[in-house]
Structures are given as structure tokens and as C-alpha cells.
């Protein structure tokens, strides 16, 4: 039995519960470090998040979020430094405007905005990071798989 099959068999998904796939785009200085702290503090959380580290939320293009959905994400977390804490002073302020517009656009397009969590998690908020992760997973789990988006390609007339 290959390892892959072994994983498959023991995967929680096989227990019948839907396990959403969540992509996380986080800044290096606050949230990534906060998630490191969650690790060193052994804050337990659910394992459904896959993280992409970026220097700053200012770097996070909304195309990343769309691409994540295209690649089968059921939910997305975008997280960075609290206002005033940005390592680059202002990156998160620019990002905040961009995210505000994107959030409204998503909602308008009929993409359930609960699929995306925007959060500020500082380097000292390991516990908060765990909460953000678990809340997002539970919320997206309740919403179910994002089949609407996943099937877009096949549904094209």
C-alpha cells in the first residue's frame, strides 16, 4: 500500500464530513509570525488551511483570491497587520481599500462573502490566528463545497 493511499484511507474526509480547502494569503511580518507563535504556543487548529506567504497585504492582488477559487479553494483567508502596525507603514491601508472593494464586488457577483475572511492578526495574536482559521473552516464547511465556482468550466455552454 502506497503512502498516498494510506493517507487517503485515513483522511477525515472519508469519515463523511466535508473538509473544505482553504487558501490563506498572509503578510510575512504580522500574520505569518502570528501563525508561527500559534505553533510555538501549540494552539491547536483544524488542518484545512494552505498558506502563501507574502511580504505585505499590500502585495496581495485580488487575482490571487480568484485564482485560488479557480484552483478549487472552498474558502480564502486574507490576513495582515493591524492598521498602524504595517512593517511598511502603509501597505495594509492600501490593501484595506482594495479588499473593501473586492468584498463588495464578490457579494454583488453572488459569491457568498462568507467564503472569504479578511483579518488583522498581529505577530502576538497566535490565539487569534487559531480562531480565525477554525471559524473560517467551520463557516465554509457549513456553506459546503464551492461547487458553483468549481463547475464553471464544465458549465460553459
Amino acid at each position: 500500500m502506497s503512502t498516498a493511499t494510506a493517507i487517503e484511507n485515513k483522511s477525515p474526509a472519508s469519515a463523511g464530513r466535508f473538509e473544505p480547502r482553504i487558501a490563506a494569503f498572509v503578510c510575512n511580518w504580522c500574520t505569518y509570525t502570528g501563525a508561527d507563535l500559534a505553533g510555538t504556543s501549540r494552539v491547536q487548529m483544524m488542518p484545512n488551511v494552505r498558506m502563501v506567504r507574502l511580504p505585505c497585504t499590500g502585495r496581495i492582488d485580488t487575482a490571487f483570491i480568484i485564482k485560488a477559487f479557480e484552483r478549487g479553494a472552498d474558502g480564502v483567508i486574507v490576513s495582515g497587520c493591524h492598521p498602524g502596525d504595517c512593517h511598511y507603514s502603509e501597505g495594509n491601508y492600501h490593501a484595506r481599500r482594495r479588499f473593501a472593494m473586492f468584498k463588495e464586488l464578490m457579494n454583488f457577483m453572488g459569491i457568498d462573502e462568507r467564503r472569504v475572511t479578511f483579518s488583522w492578526v498581529s505577530a502576538s495574536e497566535g490565539r487569534k490566528w487559531g480562531d480565525v482559521v477554525d471559524e473560517t473552516i467551520e463557516r465554509v464547511r457549513a456553506l459546503g463545497p464551492f461547487d458553483d465556482y468549481k463547475t464553471l468550466l464544465e458549465e460553459t455552454p
Partner: protein
């Protein structure tokens, strides 16, 4: 074709307990482009690093992925190992399978699955990593200090003593700043000028300090290590080289009734003047606004009016036709030490935030003065030769009331912060008053007594217990003149009783504010500042004397209210930072910086607008014959800090951030 090596670490049991590291290595070994995939107990150990180095050589790896702890922990370690094997260190990245995986999950299957995904995403990213080399920028090994108060003087002396040249710019005719106006200093009551004057002279005579007084910074170009500063030397109307400071010109000046800035308006000076006897340099300046010669000229009169000073000068040093001159200085680092000014309680304010004090008659009640004026009254070199006398009638006040927090800690007046020094100097004032007027009674209205500092609380206790200052916790709601006395209506919040009392003189501990024009200066330096105009430090705890612009540092009360020891400590801290910076011929910087694809840049300059560092420049594209074809954006690698905000803002995706390129991020998402 990529040749990636994957190295999965057990971290003893830290990772291996929850993550099936062998399975991770095995699965990742199957990924296209991965030609070597192993797991090991401690990748960061010497044998572990050796494994990486040997694999690079043996398998001719083009990229290294270490699935281990956080990159914040060991990225440097593995990049060093990678470089040691002759591969560009930036071709090595880490997948975080400890802090972000094994430590936070219990399910071995789920954690293993996650570790494989995380490693795969990094593998795909690394396939698109490019070799990068650190950026080297040359350094001009001199520094500029803006502001010649105690902070600026200290910074200049420390840098100069450390062996680097300093350009010290002061906008007033003399260096010395506010400290030169003070009588005695807390908590030791030593004479301010006695400790300051030697420093001023030392700065003046220092072979490595170039002093520009009566000068201001006109513009600043460039970036860390390479600033070009234009300084406006305002026309003194006196030839600095020729003047010997004899003072004959001041003696003959007919216009002697001008309120002296140095004496906070309580004393008088002439139109040609040296601000105070110990001024450095001891060279007068003509106040052109008030000099009869210049006033007549400004009115268009062709007749020569006055000119007595020029006649009196034995050295022919008075030059009425002197003009402002601009000089340029190249420096590698800059210290902002522009100090403070005091809140004016008047009706007209220079900021919309500030409201003034209508309840204190907007500053129109006689014998209501501010702390600096009291300093001048108490100073032996002051207008009353150190006697405490009321400005209105010269009588000795037998009751002086001191009000703390005037403007400070009062959002309704526009300032919510604490000015920090007032509790201490008010205590000092009550003592100086008691020492000079033995039968006098000092009363202080305070909100809290903030006397944190070495010997500070003892000092305020002394004011109360030994020198009998009466401290009333509460605010004064109204002040007005009632015949000879000033009526004070207030409230004692400890007893809960309203207070109505008379005073002969009232001293307001008005809030400390940044100097006028701070916003303009900060913009010239592209450093950030708060709504009050205080310069923002780069990090409130860990980078307290740096600004968000590399190479620009901040010292003293222009950053927030500071007392003398704080200002001096900050100044020395900036000096040590700068000496470190200037110890190199070249600066080396991480190559995580943005660059522009000039072929697709549309020159909309959105990038320029979002750049917090002013790193985006306009670049002219010319054809072979030198004709301007178009303009594009260009990133100055010396200034860019690598946040990448410009990338997400660029509509045509014409910017890239080395280390975090779109292709790298895209690949990671595609591997999700």
C-alpha cells in the same frame, strides 16, 4: 528543466511525531522537477546542512526546498548552506511544516497531507525563483543634523567624535535651542546654560562639524547613503567671516523695543541683534521685518534711512545687500532634531485641531504667562535678572498659581497626548519661586502627577513637602482679571469642592507641540508624521530612532514630547546608528525589491502614489539619437523596501518583486 532537492526535517520528534516525514519526502520526490527528496532527523545540524550541500553538488540542483520550521527561524541557515555549495542562496526556500503544521495539529494523516501540500507549493515556487544578488549602494560618509538644540548638538558631537563629518543646520541665528532659555533643570536644579554652553562651543569649534546657523533645509533628494541636501542660508546682513562680535552695532541700533524671542517676549532686543550673550556663533543678524533701513526700502523709499549699525561697525561687516544663498551638501544619513514649540492659548490657531482657551480669555488676561516665560523670569540672564516679577506692573507676586495640562490630555482642545515634561518643570517652578520669594505661595492645579524617571518623584515630593507647594487635583474652569488680581475658578476633585481663589500671577504649563512647518520638512524627507506633526518612528519599540525612510533618523522632541535626558539619549542613539551605517564604504541590502517591466509600463504612476518610500522615479526612455521617446516608472533599488504594494496596484502588471514575483505566487496557487 528544474532540478529541485527536497529536504524534510524531523526536528527530532517535533515534526516527525505528527507528520510522516518519510511519506512527505516520498510524495514530494514524485513531483515533476524534483530529483532528490530525503528526510533527516535534524536538517539544521551540521550533518543536515552537509546533506544539502552534498546533494547540490551531486545532483546539480537548481533549487532547494527545506520542509522544516518557520523561515523566520532557519531560512538564513539554509540559504548560507546553499551558498556554501555554490548555488545562489535565493534559490533556497523553506516550507513551514513545524509551526504551521506539526505543532498545531493532532491528526497524523491530516498533518502529513498538509505538509505535502505546503512543500509542493514551495517546490513550485522555487522552480521559478531566480538567482538574486544583494544590492550594493555607495555611501557618502557624512551626516546632516537638522536642528541645533540639545538633541542636534549631541548627535552632531557624537557623530563627529566618532570620526565622521557632520553638517549641522539651525534656523535661528544661534544654536542652543530651547535649553538655552531655561533657568535651572530638573531634577538637579543645575543651571541650564552652565551645562549647555560648553557643548555649543564644542560643536562650533569641532573640526568635523560644519555649522550653518540662520539656515534651513530647502530640499532633500536621494536616498540612504546618497542624500543631496540643499540648504538655504538666509541673509544675515552681517558678514560672518568679518564680524568679531563686538556688539557695537547693537548698541547704536535705534530700534531697541522689539520683544525678544529669546526672552519669550518679556525682554527687548534691537533690530540688529545677537539673540543672547552666549550665542554661538556670536554674530548678529538684522531682523529685516523690523529694521528701519529695510522697512523704508520695503515701502519703496529710495532714501537711505538709518544705517547706523553699518557706520558703527569697525570691520565693515554689516552688508545690507546680502542675499539668501543656496548651498548643497552630500550626506549619507540625516538626523531630524527640530524640537518643539508651545501651545498658544489664543483664539487664532494654526491647526484646525486646536481650539485655544476661551475660558482663560484666549490669552488676553494680564499676568497669565506660559512656562517658558516663567523660565525667563527665573533665569539669572533673563529680563528681570532672575527676580520673579509680574510682567504687568513689575510687582513681586505673593501668590502664583500653576496650571498643568493646558492643551495636553484634552482632546476637546485638540491634543490628547501627555506633554510629559510639564509635571516636572512645574514642580521645579514652584521650587524656584519659593527659593526666590520666601513668603510666596505656589499652588498647582494638576490632573495627575507623572514623575516617572530617576529622581523625579523625589523631586516633586520635595516641591510639596519641603518647599510647601500646594497641589490641588483638579482643573480650572475660568480665569479672569479682577482689579489687581486674577480670579481663578476651579474644582478640587479630591474633596469634591469648587475652588475660587485669587492669584497675582498664573503660569500655564502649555502643551508641547512639534515646530511649525514639520509637515513640510517631513514631506521633503518623505518620512511619516502624525496628525500633530510629530515625526513617526519606524517602530515604537524596536526602532525608536529610525524613521520609515532608510537613512533618516529622529532625535528629541520632534518625535514626541521629550525632556533633556531623553533627547540626549535619543541623539546619542541616532549617532551610534549613523556611525554604524557610515562605517561601510557600501551598503548591502536584501534584493527583495521591485522592478519595472519598461516595455509594458504605461506610466500611469499608480505605483508612485502608493509607494510609502518614494522609491518610484520617472525614467526617460530615449532613442539612439537621444530623443525622448516616453517616460516610464523606475524603482530605485536603494530606496525600495520590498512591500510589493506597487505590484498589486499596477493595472498592467508591469512590476515584479524579486523573491515574490507574480510567477512565483501564481505557481504556488496553482499547486494548491
Amino acid at each position: 528543466m528544474s532540478r529541485i532537492g527536497v529536504f524534510v526535517c524531523h526536528c527530532g520528534e517535533n515534526i516527525a511525531r505528527t507528520v510522516d516525514t518519510a511519506a512527505v519526502a516520498q510524495e514530494c520526490g514524485k513531483l515533476p522537477g524534483v530529483i532528490h527528496s530525503v528526510d533527516y532527523k535534524y536538517m539544521c545540524s551540521d550533518p543536515g546542512q552537509l546533506m544539502v550541500k552534498q546533494a547540490i553538488a551531486e545532483h546539480k540542483l537548481t533549487g532547494v526546498v527545506v520542509a522544516a520550521c518557520s523561515p523566520h527561524m532557519h531560512e538564513k541557515t539554509f540559504r548560507r548552506a546553499t551558498a556554501g555549495a555554490g548555488l545562489n542562496p535565493f534559490l533556497c526556500e523553506m516550507a513551514n511544516v513545524r509551526e504551521h503544521c506539526s505543532w498545531i495539529h493532532e491528526s497524523r494523516t491530516a498533518a502529513t497531507e498538509k505538509a505535502i501540500d505546503a512543500t509542493r507549493m514551495i517546490v513550485e515556487k522555487v522552480k521559478r525563483n531566480a538567482p538574486l544578488s544583494p544590492i550594493h549602494i555607495p555611501v557618502t560618509r557624512r551626516a546632516l543634523v537638522i536642528g541645533g538644540g540639545i538633541a542636534g548638538i549631541q548627535a552632531a558631537l557624537d557623530i563627529a567624535d566618532g570620526g565622521r563629518e557632520v553638517v549641522l543646520v539651525e534656523k535661528e541665528p544661534s544654536i542652543g535651542g530651547h535649553m538655552s532659555q531655561l533657568s535651572e533643570t530638573f531634577p538637579t536644579l543645575d543651571c541650564s546654560q552652565c551645562i549647555l554652553t560648553p557643548r555649543m562651543v564644542e560643536a562650533f569649534q569641532h573640526p568635523r562639524i560644519k555649522l550653518y546657523t540662520y539656515s534651513e533645509v530647502e530640499s532633500v533628494d536621494g536616498y540612504i547613503g546618497n542624500f543631496k541636501v540643499t540648504i538655504r542660508k538666509k541673509a544675515r546682513s552681517v558678514d560672518e567671516a568679518n564680524c568679531n562680535g563686538c556688539g557695537a552695532c547693537q548698541a547704536v541700533c535705534p530700534n531697541k523695543k522689539i520683544p525678544s524671542e529669546f526672552d519669550a517676549g518679556l525682554g527687548k532686543r534691537s533690530a540688529i541683534y545677537v539673540p543672547f550673550p552666549q550665542a554661538v556663533p556670536n554674530i548678529p543678524v538684522i531682523d529685516r521685518e523690523r529694521c528701519s533701513y529695510f522697512r523704508a526700502k520695503a515701502k519703496g523709499s529710495t532714501k537711505v534711512v538709518c544705517g547706523k549699525c553699518a557706520e558703527a561697525c569697525g570691520k565693515g561687516a554689516v552688508h545690507f545687500d546680502q542675499q539668501d544663498t543656496l548651498v548643497t551638501e552630500d550626506v549619507g544619513a540625516i538626523v531630524v532634531a527640530t524640537g518643539y514649540r508651545l501651545y498658544d492659548i489664543g483664539k487664532d490657531q494654526d491647526s484646525e485641531l486646536l481650539k485655544g482657551y476661551g475660558e482663560y480669555g484666549y490669552g488676553t488676561v494680564p499676568d497669565v504667562i506660559d512656562g517658558m516665560q516663567f523660565e525667563r523670569l527665573a533665569s539669572a540672564s533673563g529680563p528681570t535678572a532672575g527676580k520673579i516679577l509680574r510682567p504687568s506692573d513689575g510687582k513681586e507676586p505673593t501668590s502664583v498659581v500653576f496650571l498643568q495640562c493646558i492643551g495636553s490630555r484634552d482632546p476637546s482642545k485638540g491634543i490628547e497626548y501627555c506633554s510629559k515634561i510639564c509635571c516636572m518643570y512645574v514642580a521645579k517652578h514652584t521650587m524656584l519661586y519659593k527659593h526666590k520669594v520666601h513668603h510666596g505661595q505656589a499652588t498647582v492645579f494638576y490632573m495627575d502627577i507623572r514623575a516617572a524617571g530617576k529622581g523625579y518623584d523625589e523631586f516633586t515630593r520635595r516641591a510639596i513637602e519641603e518647599d510647601g507647594a500646594r497641589y490641588v487635583r483638579g482643573r480650572v474652569s475660568r480665569l479672569y482679571r479682577d482689579g489687581e488680581v486674577i480670579k481663578i475658578l476651579g474644582f478640587d476633585t479630591l474633596s469634591g469642592e469648587p475652588i475660587e481663589m485669587d492669584a497675582d500671577m498664573v503660569v500655564l504649563a502649555t502643551a508641547m507641540r512639534p515646530q511649525a512647518g514639520m509637515a513640510e520638512l517631513a514631506q521633503k524627507l518623505s518620512v511619516s508624521y502624525d496628525k500633530h506633526g510629530f515625526i513617526n518612528e519606524a517602530h515604537p519599540k524596536l526602532r525608536p530612532v529610525e524613521t520609515n525612510t532608510a537613512g533618516v533618523f529622529v532625535a528629541g522632541a520632534c518625535q514626541s514630547p521629550r525632556d533633556i535626558p531623553d533627547s540626549v539619549a535619543m541623539a546619542s542613539a541616532t549617532a551610534s546608528k549613523i556611525l554604524g551605517l557610515l562605517s561601510n564604504e557600501q551598503l548591502e541590502r536584501e534584493p527583495t525589491v521591485a522592478r519595472v517591466d519598461e516595455s509594458t509600463c504605461s506610466a500611469c504612476f499608480h505605483c508612485e502614489r502608493v509607494c510609502a518610500y518614494g522609491a518610484v522615479e520617472h525614467k526617460d526612455i530615449r532613442d539612439r539619437s537621444g530623443n525622448l521617446v516616453r517616460v516610464v516608472a523606475s524603482v530605485n533599488k536603494g530606496v525600495c523596501q520590498g512591500c510589493g504594494t506597487c505590484l498589486a496596484t499596477c493595472p498592467s502588471k508591469s512590476l515584479e518583486l524579486d523573491g515574490f514575483t507574480d510567477a512565483q505566487i501564481h505557481a504556488a496557487i496553482m499547486a494548491f
